[in-house]
């Protein structure tokens, strides 16, 4: 315990000193608080309290000459991550980043199995970073990461921490529904009440089975293990009205054009349909699934230690909500403050007792059975 407290405090002081001498150019994310310096020397009562890990995460040491590779999904998403985390981090620590935009679980597997690991920090979806992937990933150093501050509903494992949150939600086109507002997934399945086609992601573990169960009255807490028979039976009731989409862009287009009256959608895409495309699209947050993207370190990363520090930094309450300055993706740190202009459009701020969370481990372990049921339903 003593060690844990000593290291962060030391790092905090180093960071503060270097930050002062380095004259950081007022990056919004640079931790300006003097709290770490005024903290008393580590005492027995200090322990590895969240705030200790938190302040260490927020105050990484200078690491001149280090180049980290950062791989995410490109586009405005990666740009938001760059501005919120990468650029301030470079200013703070001197660490340079080399970016890739083609994050893929398969590429991580290829790199690890061939022993040619070039990726240090990778942003992945909720289907990765689980215990079943332990051969592919470095266990994270939770002495550096303020784990207690992170939203525990988001499926934190030894190998991943969530970096941004988003919601799988119900979006509706107000013109196509003629002003009627769907209250939740029961209305999505009720084409008599609100006529029109229904959009859905063509992926067995994308959320449709969960939504079918919620529409059928299953409480979010009781979703898992999935009752596949009940779910597919419910899906049968609107089989002829379902329009599948296979990419986010497609879902945005379907709901924006009114081709479907309602769709399941990633909240960022629903937001874009409304705010970028200026289409009559609204989001129903009730019964959303709150989920996240995660940061992982491929096993054998050449810059493992530096990668750990950077990942911890993204979890720092001061910077964790940074991406919400640009996109409607929310923080994963409970103490982080999201962009006020975006706060109503975030999944986490709209989360309530009706919100569900994916059980990623269950979904990974039972994929074959779940997908077979899904395929059978589609073909039946």
């Amino acid at each position: 315990m003593r060690r844990h407290a000593t290291v962060p405090a030391f790092l905090a002081i180093v960071a503060l000193v270097t930050a002062c001498s380095g004259g950081g150019g007022g990056g919004s994310a640079a931790p300006s608080s003097a709290a770490p310096a005024s903290e008393p020397a580590p005492s027995d009562s200090g322990g590895a309290s969240p705030s200790a890990a938190g302040s260490a995460a927020c105050n990484p040491p200078r690491q001149e000459g280090v180049t980290l590779s950062f791989t995410s999904f490109g586009g405005v998403y990666q740009e938001a991550q760059r501005k919120a985390w990468l650029e301030p981090y470079t200013e703070l620590t001197g660490v340079q980043f080399q970016e890739d935009e083609n994050s893929s679980n398969a590429t991580i597997k290829t790199q690890v199995e061939s022993g040619q690991v070039t990726w240090d920090v990778v942003d992945v979806g909720n289907d990765f970073g689980l215990d079943v992937h332990k051969d592919l990933l470095e266990p994270l150093d939770y002495t550096l990461i303020p784990k207690d501050e992170l939203n525990a509903d988001l499926g934190i494992t030894d190998y991943r921490i969530p970096d941004i949150t988003y919601g799988v939600v119900l979006a509706y086109n107000t013109e196509a529904t003629a002003g009627k507002v769907p209250e939740g997934w029961a209305d999505y399945f009720d084409t008599a009440k609100i006529p029109g086609k229904r959009g859905a992601w063509d992926y067995s573990e994308g959320g449709m089975l969960e939504f079918a169960l919620m529409a059928d009255g299953v409480k979010p807490a009781d979703l898992y293990p999935l009752d596949l028979e009940r779910a597919t039976k419910k899906l049968d009731t609107i089989k002829d009205d379902i329009v599948f989409w296979s990419s986010g862009a497609e879902s945005q287009e379907l709901i924006g054009s009114g081709e479907v009256a309602m769709t399941m959608i990633w909240n960022g895409r629903g937001w874009s349909a409304k705010n970028i495309d200026k289409k009559p699209v609204e989001i129903q947050w009730n019964q959303q699934i709150v989920t996240a993207d995660y940061l992982v370190i491929p096993k054998g990363s050449p810059n493992k230690d530096a990668a750990m520090k950077f990942i911890a930094y993204t979890a720092c309450a001061d910077v964790n909500a940074g991406p919400s300055e640009f996109i409607p993706y929310g923080p994963t740190n409970k103490n982080a403050t999201a962009n006020p202009a975006m706060v109503n459009d975030l999944s986490v701020t709209n989360a309530d007792e009706n919100s569900a969370y994916f059980d990623d481990t269950y979904l990974a372990e039972n994929f074959d059975e779940i997908d077979a049921a899904w395929q059978a339903w589609k073909a039946g």
Binding site: N105, K109, D368, A372, Q375
Partner: protein
């Protein structure tokens, strides 16, 4: 044996000994062959082998797992069914088209050729999305018909097998037309005239002389289109309905997301295996070498 005569007749150096019947120009194909072996055959074989011991000790369990899932087997069958339909559609459109190319004057034939090649110059994804815009309920075609008052409800053009076939045949048509055209243009028009001289009507001259002579092209084109169609999945995903699932989609899912490479590979091996069986059967019916050897640039 390399005789002095031969050496004089063929001034280039002998690359692979001097076996008389060996055309030394084929040595030029060596880089291509080596390339194919290194970047295609070896990885393919390595992959195929992986379908058995992955996860360790899996034996044939990946294959058993596949055949145990009725839904997956259905997708495999469906893949061949859609490929077959797309091939037929291409044939029906492509045969008259290729024939037309052989009978019109040269300049017009060139134009027709460009028209059929045009799709090659835009991305598959863009073309598929374009079809979506045209075919969907709120799309161009339905809007037009609705505005004209010809229909009162949108026609279901998209998310049907028909939609998939439209999209796929648009993309695959060149692969049908080009081999057929290559064969057809080498059919001597004199045969037709001879048939007419002997009293055949134009129709029977066409069906009894031209069509049989064009068959190698038909088979080559069909084979090419069929094999290519088997690997499609983006087009069916975008234009098809719930049932228009192709096996490639399942393979991608296993390889990219699930990381179950053993199972994903087992499915690929099945697809490749069945495809090769088709090719083998076809090679009994027609000499593939003749067909694919007939380039457009000849004579």
């Amino acid at each position: 044996m390399a005789t002095a005569d031969e050496a004089r007749r063929r001034p280039w150096p002998s690359l692979v000994g001097a076996r008389p019947r060996f055309n030394r120009w084929s040595a030029l194909a060596l880089p291509a062959i080596v390339f194919l072996i290194v970047v295609f055959l070896i990885p393919l074989a390595a992959r195929a082998l992986r379908s058995v011991p992955d996860p360790p000790g899996a034996g044939l369990s990946n294959y058993e797992q596949f055949f145990a899932q009725r839904a997956y087997v259905n997708v495999l069958t469906n893949t061949f069914w859609i490929a077959l339909l797309a091939t037929l559609a291409c044939l029906v459109i492509g045969y008259p088209y290729a024939y037309l190319m052989t009978v019109v004057p040269g300049r017009l034939a060139g134009l027709l050729l460009i028209a059929v090649l045009l799709p090659f110059w835009s991305s598959l994804l863009v073309r598929t999305f374009a079809w979506q815009v045209l075919l969907r309920d709120t799309g161009v075609i339905n809007r037009f018909l609705l505005d004209l008052g010809l229909i009162s409800e949108p026609l279901t053009l998209i998310r049907t097998t028909g939609g998939v076939i439209i999209g796929m045949s648009h993309i695959l048509l060149p692969f049908m037309v080009l081999p057929m055209y290559a064969v057809m243009r080498r059919i001597d028009p004199e045969y037709g005239r001879a048939a007419a001289n002997l009293g055949a009507s134009p129709v029977s001259a066409f069906t009894r002389i031209f069509v049989p002579l064009s068959l190698p092209g038909v088979l080559a084109g069909s084979l090419l289109v069929f094999v290519l169609a088997l690997g499609f999945y983006i087009t069916p995903a975008l234009l098809g309905g719930l049932k228009d699932q192709m096996i490639s989609q399942l393979i991608v899912q296993q390889i990219q997301q699930r990381l179950d490479w053993g199972f994903g590979t087992a499915m690929s091996v099945l697809l490749v295996g069945i495809t090769l069986a088709f090719l083998f059967a076809a090679s009994r019916a027609v000499r593939l070498r003749d067909v694919f050897g007939s380039g457009l640039g000849e004579d």
